[in-house]
Amino acid sequence: MIKIRRKWRSTNDAEVGTGHLTRERALIVLAILISLLVLAVLAALVTGSEEIPGIQLLHALSSAVVGMPSRLTPEQETILFQIRLPRVALAIGVGAALALSGAAFQSLLRNPLADPYVLGISGGAAVGSMMANILFPGYGSVQMAGGFIGAGLAMSAVYQIGRRKDDPAHLVLAGVIMSTMLSSFIVLMTALADSLQLRRITLWLLGDLSTGTGSAAIFVLVVSLLAGLVLTGRARALNLMMIGERDAFALGIETTRVRWQVYLMASLLTAAAVTAGGAIGYVGLVVPHLIRLAAGADNRLVIPASAIGGAILVLIADMIARTVIAPRELPTGAIIALLGAPVFLFLLIRGRR
């Protein structure tokens, strides 16, 4: 009798060691990213119109921690603690929030092109918080709530359209239409604003960290941290959702519950980032993509690593934005878009092939 079954290839288990994410690999990648973030923070704190030498900076920071007076001049101290440190915190919070929501959306929609900005969810948050600001001026928390509702509504609309057809570009198209509609809405609202407000709103829509306050920074940092923990806790489930909801369901996931959790977290993150720093685009697209390219698609690493990577990206972009034409500033979002839009285009074309 002829044996049809091929001899099973005798691959030794020792040869197959790198095909998955291990705890060690995850920790190494995270340690590298955290070191880079620390370096970027120090660089951001020393650069600016007022020079603060690195040694003095380290001394001032360590003195502040133990409650000792620093060797800085009063002006330097004000610049460091009242201006630069809040701004650095804001950049970290906004970057982490945007990259986290991007990574979460991508897995949920199983679409590597998903990004809160491209899909019009940032636009929803912007419209929501602007409307809240018109209706209840002066209440920061109401503005945040408006942003959250706006982001949630835009997201559910895009999700409903996107799921009708299993094609990444279809979803992006729905998002682009959503964005266009929302920006016309914003233009209609800004028609009522005077020229000074108009300039502020325009900067904000481009993504601008210069108007952010210390409390906004703390708020977006806390939201990023909490949502980041929740999403990292759902990373295993998201690994299955990223293959497909039907598969995830068959493999033991209550898909509806996970979908709602991710919905909630991603909308919250987008709203927090947009109210604090404006509509900065492409962070959620570029950062998770680079992480996957370097370390694979497992969300147990992609989600926390994206948070740190997003923080680094926005921090560096913001440093560029406030130094290249100092003392004037560029909108941070414009710097990131210059980098992010080509990456997006590349992914779109490659995906269509």
Binding site: R5, R9, T11, P168
Partner: protein, 261 residues
């Protein structure tokens, strides 16, 4: 036992057409049942109903004496694995990572893969002759290779029941046969019960203990291949004159279509 009791089902968007019409069938441990029928006869729908992924309008599914509707997704996934034509994976997941997702129902929701999970995943890949793809990206494999990885993922679930929707549709002849032999061996050795949807009448005749024939949502015949696969039944179901003789070694039915039609 996996029991489908008097199931009826229609899709909400198409209530006029009864997709599944009062179907009952029991699958015993160690038994391999093939589900045959023309396109649109409700085979895949029946499989989804058995897996608890669709809810019947009437009737119920019992798995190991428990109604599927009363179990959590996690409990179901530990008892039943279903292999369907897969999604296109758009992220750089490796075949090993793909198979490891099969362990989800057995492990805590948070954490990394244990050595035991890895050993099970690799063993499953080895059994479906796919271990050589372990580190390759799933979206770079051919359709037939991906099917073997999908079957490996189902094995990694360590289920009592395997539900397979055309598991061999894209595989080459040797792998079609080796995959069905594998399922046959698992049924014999580990007492796994399998329900296989297929269009390949000859493969079904060779490997199945029982054949179920479905037409327009109704079960029209059920029994051992030698009894069910008759010229009159098949010609009626498929609207095609069919000839039957015997496999020279196993003596099981062997089917042909009439050459002059």
């Amino acid at each position: 036992m996996l029991e489908l009791r008097n199931l009826s089902f229609h899709y909400t968007r198409d209530p006029a057409r009864q997709t599944i019409d009062r179907v009952s069938l029991d699958i015993h441990q160690g038994e391999l049942v093939a589900l045959l029928g023309p396109n649109g006869s409700g085979k895949s729908t029946l499989l989804q109903l058995a897996a608890g992924a669709l809810r019947p309008q009437s009737g119920e599914v019992l798995v190991n004496q428990q109604p599927v509707a009363s179990l959590t997704r996690r409990e179901i996934a530990r008892m039943m694995a279903i292999v369907t034509p897969g999604y296109e994976v758009r992220f750089p997941l490796t075949a090993l990572e793909y198979v490891l997702t099969g362990r989800y129902a057995h492990v805590p929701a948070v954490g990394f893969d244990s050595q035991q999970d890895l050993a099970i995943a690799r063993q499953s890949l080895r059994e479906t002759d796919a271990l050589q793809f372990a580190e390759r990206r799933i979206n770079q494999l051919s359709a037939g290779e991906r099917q073997r990885v999908s079957l490996a993922r189902a094995l990694a679930q360590q289920p009592d029941w395997l539900l397979l929707d055309e598991p061999t549709a894209n595989a080459d002849l040797a792998h079609q046969i080796s995959m069905l032999r594998l399922v046959r061996e698992m049924a014999n050795r580990q007492r796994i019960g399998a329900l296989i949807v297929t269009h390949d009448l000859n493969l079904a005749a060779q490997f199945a203990d029982r054949i179920m024939l479905l037409k327009e949502g109704r079960l029209v015949a059920s029994g051992p291949p030698g009894e069910v696969l008759t010229t009159s039944v098949l010609s009626d179901i498929f609207n095609l004159p069919i000839l039957i003789d015997q496999h020279p070694q196993s003596g099981r039915p062997r089917l042909f279509w009439e050459s002059n039609s």
